[in-house]
Amino acid sequence: MPSDAGSIAAARRSVLRSVAGSWDFVLLVILAAVLFGAIGWIDNFAETITVTFLLLDVIPIALMATALTLVIVTGEIDLSVASILGLTSAVLGQLWLSGFPLEIAIALCVLLGAVLGAVNGLFVAGLGLPSLAVTIGTLALYRGLAYVVLGDRAVADFPFEWTTRAISTIGDTGIPVAVLPVIGLALLFGVTLHATPIGRALYAIGNNADTARFSGISVSWTKFWTFVASGVMSSLAGIFWTFRYASARADNGLGLELAVVAAVLLGGVSIFGGRGNLIGVLAAVVLLATLQRTLQLASATDEVLNLVIGSLLILSVVVPNVVQMLRQRIRPTVLEGPTP
């Protein structure tokens, strides 16, 4: 690539980045607007129960999106997250049926998640296969295994305290208890991504794997672990899902992967890797859930929601570019690193 094209492309990217850096700000603004609008005009929205329902919907997506962000920052992608959710759920049910105490069953499921992620990582980082193709494969494989494990059955008789624990709220705040560990995990991932050497390595890999290698970063090893992380988080999502709906079955979370990817991209993470941050992603996740609740309460159908999601996705990439085209001449190209 010639220096001039490079530098121009980069100048464009850089401004884009400085806008994208503020894209999560834009998201927060939209989110606030939606919230106020809903509180103002939608009946029954301004209730603590809304918070409960909303956050309960957010949790599984947030879990998967958080880890997926790391994967995408390194320039890879993991489409098997929803299938891992399903398989974990199925296995959890099967283990419970065959008499395992839930504590152990859950531990095993998290382990399973790690293994499934490791398989993805092995194919992608180890054999150097394109992650898009690999995880389309494991998307089918893992979902298939879920059916193998549980078949047409649905395991439903989990102990009452567990199923209620999943949806119980902190006092009468309406905030589900389950949100707390999720916030903890989000913090963990956020710090890792934005304030540790590992995070720096992830961004370097996403932008130029060769240079990363020449700088002593073990590219494949790092990528491998991002996939493991993705697997673990998906399995946690699967466990939560099972208890929240008090039902373990093979088709849990079917087709959820696109929603998760959409959330991450909407959060301003570049599909090519090397750019984006977790705040934006989480903002996007909450925004999508809020939109869903609002539209449902307004008795709008799923189609409207999908229309909005689609349009937002497109805007998320078009707007920064347009802004940058406008600014390009005026503003000096002073650039921030990928982190805000």
């Binding site: 690539m1 220096s3 094209a5 121009i8």
Partner: protein, 509 residues
């Protein structure tokens, strides 16, 4: 100060720039530059890194639209809408960095968009390969036209670029540091071809940091400094020192200030390193405070060797020892821990993350040193980056500027900064001064010898003989993947090195 080209002062220039301005945000890359290219002349363009040479080239190539000023073709103002337009106007360009399609064959790379056609506007592949082979023959390049471009060494890429430019049989040929990666033999062949073009009435613009080449090829030389036109003279009217003074704007001390040091005990020990098809049974050692040059023709396999030593490439046999301890093969991290550093050959692909800021790049090798309990501290990152970039006098809009916005030479400095920051005990540099101006070059050399003075062992791959002879204590010569000779720098001359590099033995002299 400006003088006209000898002779044809009445004819109008084929291509001319008048009062061209170009700014990138805050940086004013070009400030009112004038330039005239006459039929049959080879015109040299020199200047420090960041002087604006490449930017000027881009304006001529239609790759960049100047903010102000006009481009005149045969005296007529033209609006070069884009590279295609320039091409159609008969302007061929060799950019500073190769612009190849790795997935396509070398021949397709050369003829992309201009492939010879047969009936129904179908591509005539056979004809294309024939022409490509012809071009290579003309340049004396031994490359299979059907070979994919991926995996070509920088040198080979540069040669393909040249072939591409020649395939236009253009009226204007613009070359932005085409020889940076080439060594003697190729350069000579290139010049013969270029001279041929000039005789057939083409105009050539030749950008280079190698003044000897500029003097060898060009009739007139233009100097840029900080984006401004300084002078245009007939080659006969100026001396290298004048040029250097004008480029740098100050006196430049002697170019190769290598102080003699007392080499200590061996720290890097390479034993019987081999990799099928690339290099074979390479053994040498480098001692503390010593600068060892790895010379040879391009394609000799020097980069492969040093890459293997550092652990980014595999090797099939042999071993690498630092302080007598064997390095695990294929583990750059381990090499770094052992105190090795490698400034790679290709700064864009291997040295830098172009999209990231100068700061992120400089700190990439020291992520863990800069962190406490695994957490990074912004202030420390910032100050460390500033310290090293200022040490190397990197010219940029600040440490938060993306390295892609730096000029070639300044990018190279960032790579050096990134590695010097690790305070290595063995520093391996592959073509450290490629595309770097005389001023900076001197700095780099001073740096290297300072490091040697501090007891760092330096292994330097270089295709520039003066550099090799000026800097090195010992010279190792490679030929087709084998170490052919070891020479004592003081007791040898460029001839001896060339002989060894071209595979001749002492006897042939």
């Amino acid at each position: 100060m400006a003088t006209r080209a000898a002779g044809d002062s009445n004819t109008t220039p084929i291509l001319a720039l008048h009062d061209v301005h170009k700014a990138f945000g805050a940086i004013r890359a070009l400030r009112g530059v004038d330039l005239e290219l006459f039929a049959g002349e080879a015109h040299g363009l020199v200047g420090e890194n960041g002087a604006g040479k490449s930017t000027l080239v881009k304006s001529l190539a239609g790759a960049d639209r100047p903010d102000e000023g006009v481009v005149l073709l045969d005296g007529e103002p033209v609006e070069l809408a884009g590279p295609a337009a320039a091409r159609d106007a008969g302007i061929a360009v060799i950019y500073q960095e190769p612009t190849l399609f790795p997935d396509l064959s070398v021949a397709e790379n050369i003829f992309m968009g201009r492939q010879p056609l047969k009936r129904l506007r179908r591509i005539d592949t056979r004809e294309m390969h024939r022409r490509c082979a012809a071009l290579f023959a003309r340049l004396g390049v031994s490359l299979d036209p059907q070979r994919p471009a991926r995996g070509l060494s920088i040198a080979d890429q540069q040669l393909v670029e040249i072939a591409k430019a020649l395939s236009f049989d253009a009226r204007v040929l613009i070359m932005d540091e085409p020889t940076a990666a080439l060594s003697g033999a190729e350069v000579d062949r290139l010049f013969t071809v270029v001279r041929g073009l000039c005789e057939s009435g083409a105009a050539v613009l030749f950008v280079s940091h190698r003044l000897d080449e500029v003097f060898a090829l060009c009739q007139r030389i233009t100097v840029l400094r900080d984006g401004a036109w300084v002078s245009t003279d007939a080659t006969s009217d100026v001396s290298p020192d004048d040029l250097i003074r004008r480029m740098v704007g100050r006196e430049v001390s002697t170019l190769y200030p290598k102080q003699p040091t007392q080499p200590g005990d061996p720290v890097l020990d390479v034993r019987g390193l081999s990799r099928t098809g690339v290099f074979d049974d390479v053994s040498f050692s480098v001692r503390r405070g010593e600068i060892v040059a790895l010379a040879g023709l391009v394609g000799a396999g020097r980069s492969e060797v040093v890459r293997a030593v550092f652990g980014v490439d595999r090797y099939d046999a042999g071993s690498v020892l630092v302080d007598g301890k064997r390095l695990p093969p294929g583990r750059p991290a381990a090499a770094m821990r052992a105190g090795l550093a490698l400034v790679p050959e290709d700064r864009r692909q291997q040295g830098l993350v172009m999209e990231l800021s100068v700061e992120r790049n400089t700190n990439l090798t020291r992520r863990w040193d800069l962190s406490r309990l695994g957490l990074l501290n912004r202030r420390r990152e910032r100050s460390s980056a500033q310290e090293w970039t200022s040490r190397l006098r990197v010219k940029s809009a600040g440490v938060t500027a993306a390295v892609s916005t730096l000029s070639g030479g300044n990018q190279q400095k960032v790579v050096l900064a990134k590695w010097l920051a690790t305070r290595p005990q063995v520093l391996i540099v592959d073509e450290p001064t490629r595309g770097i101006d005389v001023g900076t070059k001197a700095e780099v050399h001073r740096l290297l010898s300072e490091l040697a003075g501090e007891g760092v062992a330096v292994l330097m791959v270089s295709s520039e003989l003066p550099e090799v002879l000026g800097m090195a204590d010992r010279v190792l010569v490679m030929h087709e993947g084998r170490l052919t000779r070891e020479l004592d720098a003081d007791a040898t001359d460029d001839e001896a090195v060339m002989y060894a590099a071209t595979g001749h033995s002492e006897g042939d002299r």
